[in-house]
């Protein structure tokens, strides 16, 4: 019975680890889909416009973005070699990386929030290696997929009764 209890703890630990690793994998899948979708979008728009957009109107990846309210006063000090910057804000701000920006642009087809149409799901699957297509399908079902527990937990109460 003691060994049962130990194994039950071991099982819970592994399930928690798997849940975290699944979340990390999901992040990487979204990253790949968003990046490839962005590249394809820009290729299409350059073909349509017959020219790339003006250089001063685009920002190359990778980048990070600080956003703050338009009323915030920002004080900035820059070293002469531009290798050090110090920003002081009088209000809160947020920092996001380029993948978060691409998600907000819809480049990951809303997969992160389970709002992906079947047509977009097909495109999304075409942007990942074949072995990961089932993950993409799972993600389109929504965040509950992440919390999916492959062993039915309801057996636990009977188990504890057994052990007590």
């Amino acid at each position: 019975a003691q060994e049962c209890q130990n194994l039950e703890l071991e099982k819970q630990k592994r399930m928690e680890r798997i849940k975290q690793k699944r979340a990390q994998l999901q992040e990487l899948i979204l990253q790949q889909i968003a990046f490839k979708n962005l590249v394809q979008r820009n290729q299409r728009s350059e073909e349509q416009n017959q020219s790339p957009p003006p250089q001063n109107s685009v920002i190359q990846l990778p980048f990070i973005l600080l956003n703050t309210s338009v009323r915030t006063v920002i004080d900035c000090s820059i070293s002469s070699d531009k290798c050090e910057y110090l920003f002081n804000f009088d209000n809160t701000f947020e920092i996001h990386d380029d993948i978060e920006v691409l998600k907000r642009m819809g480049m990951s087809f809303g997969l992160e929030s389970g709002k992906c149409s079947s047509e977009n799901l097909k495109i999304a699957k075409s942007l990942v290696p074949k072995s990961l297509e089932s993950y993409v399908t799972g993600m389109s079902a929504g965040p509950s997929w992440l919390n999916q527990d492959q062993f039915t937990c309801n057996s636990e109460p009977t188990q504890t009764a057994l052990l007590t």
Partner: protein, 109 residues
């Protein structure tokens, strides 16, 4: 007998979880390599940009600072402190040891 059955059941479950975890670890390594290949591909990097409008549309009317910096550049954010005037101060330090940092101020107005 019931406890023994439960013991066997748990062992089988743990074995299956172990395989699942190994599978996830392998998938992660493949995917990281795939992302690296995709982003290092010269054609892809040529088209790996967003427009100012793309960003302004996502952060409705905020003041935006886009930071392009060499790999390894350190960004530091101290815990907000209360200033003398009783107003909280928020700070960001950026430090690069391998080249200049580019910061672009964007605001739709």
């Amino acid at each position: 007998k019931e406890v023994l059955d439960q013991l066997e059941h748990l062992k089988a479950q743990i074995e299956e979880l172990e395989m699942k975890e190994k599978d996830l670890d392998q998938q992660k390594i493949w995917l990281q390599q795939s992302i690296k290949n995709v982003s290092d591909d010269p054609t892809n990097s040529r088209f790996a940009y967003v427009t100012h409008d793309d960003i302004c549309n996502c952060f409705s009317g905020d003041t935006l600072l886009a930071v392009l910096a060499p790999s390894g550049t350190q960004l530091e954010v101290p815990v907000p402190e209360m200033g003398q005037n009783g107003q909280k101060k928020y700070q960001v330090n950026l430090r690069s040891h391998s080249g200049p940092i580019q910061v672009l101020l964007m605001n739709r107005e």
